[in-house]
């Protein structure tokens, strides 16, 4: 453990700072010194994979294997900026009616990439006996 981390934890134990402040300080010292917080692994992500496989070796369920280039997703997300303001407002209000609070202005491709990266290896078992895996590679 680094000296800075020890010091923050000591300050927390001595009640000089509260938990939120300690968390912020720890996050600040964990950021790289060059100002970029890009994870090197993230840059290597090339594809989003969606796999659907039947559970069990001799089951005859549906099989899906889709590989989507991350650059294609990034390019696709840029189309959001082309939605006219009027249409954007209508879509947002329609989503609000359904209880989904969405602001297209705040939606950035980097956020979407963050979600995909944090998915890591999402695995869902469907009732029909299929295993769904979503991950980046």
């Amino acid at each position: 453990m680094s000296n800075e981390k020890k010091r923050i934890l000591e300050m927390l134990s001595q009640n000089k700072i509260n938990v939120d402040e300690a968390e912020r300080l720890l996050a600040a010292i964990e950021e790289p010194s060059d100002g970029t917080n890009a994870n090197p692994e993230k840059k290597m992500l090339k594809y989003l994979r969606v796999l659907v496989e039947p559970i069990g070796p001799d089951s005859k369920g549906d099989r899906v294997n889709v590989r989507i280039p991350m650059n294609l997703i990034r390019a696709g997300l840029k189309w959001i900026s082309l939605i006219p303001k009027e249409a954007r407002g209508k879509v947002e209000s329609a989503l609000n009616d359904k209880g989904i609070d969405m602001d297209f202005k705040k939606l950035r491709p980097e956020d979407f990439e963050e979600i995909l990266f944090n998915l890591n290896d999402l695995q869902v078992e469907v009732d029909g006996g299929e295993k769904v895996r979503v991950f980046c590679e």
């Binding site: 090339k46 594809y47 549906d62 099989r63 899906v64 294997n65 889709v66 590989r67 989507i68 280039p69 650059n71 294609l72 990034r74 390019a75 696709g76 840029k78 189309w79 900026s81 082309l82 006219p84």
Partner: protein
């Protein structure tokens, strides 16, 4: 890179599927020719959109469209269900 080939699998009953490689770069050449033909109309429409207050939408659309085509390489879809079998890969 823009994909140049598309690999497809055609399912056959009780046989291994036939693999077909289609040269889609021919399609890009045709699309490019169409694009050159419609470019003047596109430019005029883009200027009209700017005057109508829609900003650079027309010009941006063209750029983003090219970007989507450019990033298609590596796309692979392989679906096997009771009713359909689809396989294609852009190389």
């Amino acid at each position: 890179m823009i994909p140049c080939w598309m690999q497809m699998k055609i399912p056959k009953k009780n046989e291994t599927p036939a693999t077909l490689t289609i040269p889609i770069f021919i399609l890009w050449i045709l699309l490019f020719m169409v694009l050159v033909l419609i470019l003047p109309v596109w430019l005029i429409a883009s200027f009209i959109l700017i005057l109508a207050g829609y900003g650079w939408t027309g010009f941006l659309t063209l750029g983003l469209l090219c970007q989507v085509f450019w990033t298609l390489q590596g796309l692979e879809v392989d679906v096997k269900t009771k009713d359909i079998t689809v396989y294609f890969k852009l190389i």
